[in-house]
């Protein structure tokens, strides 16, 4: 125990000493680097800032209502009869209709796509479903270890696709924003607007979109 404490103290001292020396060297280099060209770094940073803001906004929009979603999930899954296979509970046999999809509450703007999990392409797993403010939010993981979020909401009609690249998914118009750190896909189908976001691989979004529309 004492050895651990001593070591921690030594690590602190050594790292501070190292940093002091390294910092001095860097300050000298700083003067030397004054003449380096910084090309269009300002522009890059500005773009990066915009991207980050957009990504944060998207994430917030997709993830903001986790508690609501949790309530919905509880309602959807725990609200089901405990015995969900006909024959599991003989006393219910006569009363229970055949197994049907869990009922989805009908709020005015709610987009009801209860079984996205069944439609996902091979290698994708639906890990969580949230509901927020008219959006059903699906958290998906695929076998390339890509975390993907898909939100479905009532199609507002016109959507802002500036900065997006138009593409087609199963003949339908889709819009993709592929960046180094994230990708966003927008696609409208049968009165539903899907917004997909993933950290890597825009093609994962396209595959999922093709499977679910």
């Amino acid at each position: 125990m004492k050895a651990d404490q001593d070591n921690e103290r030594i690590f602190r001292e050594i790292s501070s000493l190292y940093l002091e020396q390294e910092g001095e060297k860097l300050l000298q280099e700083l003067a030397d680097s004054a003449n380096l060209p910084d090309l269009d770094l300002d522009l890059k940073l500005q773009k990066h800032i915009k991207k980050t803001r957009l990504w944060e906004k998207t994430r917030k929009a997709l993830l903001v209502a986790a508690p609501l979603a949790a309530c919905l999930l509880i309602f959807l899954f725990l609200g089901q009869p405990f015995f969900n296979q006909p024959g599991d509970n003989p006393s219910q046999l006569a009363h229970n209709p055949p197994l049907t999809p869990p009922p989805v509450t009908s709020s005015p703007n709610r987009v009801e796509i209860a079984f996205l999990g069944d439609k996902l392409p091979a290698g994708c797993l639906l890990t969580k479903t949230d509901y927020d403010n008219g959006k059903t939010i699906y958290h998906i993981k695929n076998d390339r270890n890509n975390d993907i979020i898909f939100a479905a909401e009532e199609d507002p009609g016109s959507i802002d696709t500036s900065n997006f690249t138009p593409t087609k998914v199963k003949g339908k118009d889709a819009y993709i924003l592929a960046k180094k750190d994230y990708n966003i896909l927008l696609i409208q189908s049968e009165g539903i607007l899907y917004t997909g976001a993933s950290a890597y691989e825009a093609r994962d979004l396209l595959e999922i979109a093709a499977a679910i529309i």
Partner: protein, 182 residues
Amino acid sequence: MLFVFLAFAGDAEKDKFEFVYNRYKKLMLSKAYAILGDYDLAQDAVSEAFIRVYKNLNKLDDLESGRTAAFLVMITKNAAITMLNKQTKTAIIDITEFEKADSFDLEETVVSEHATKELLQVVDGLKDELKAPFLLKYAYDLPLKEIGRLLKISENNVAVRIHRAKSKLIEALQKGGYGDES
């Protein structure tokens, strides 16, 4: 004008960020370029580093100090390495690496100037992936969670990397004959 999209707590914070940006951007660029070998990518890495710095402005006190320069360079190198790793898809550090004992008492060995020099060399020779979390913890006194956020790695990964760095320091001292494992 450049930072019009960033939300700052006040003018002082904005001035601070602008000062840091203008003073260190070229140094950071040269460090990122040394890793990535491409100016375009290096600029991406530097802008990523500035986004991370923007979220941690409060960690910077004396803006003209070597300590601030070292902090910024560390974050830049990390951003550049992350970009490089994304391209080459390097293996994830194995969490089961916690086997090295912490029972070796450094204090008994780090008494001589020679041993201190040796340790400084080992720190210098550490890979940046290990060096950054180690320094952020011990020199900047940041909690693992914050280090993870800055370096964009999990808290577990931070702990593993720090442990690896410490093990390397102890190992080097043992190899150098400065002490035996107790």
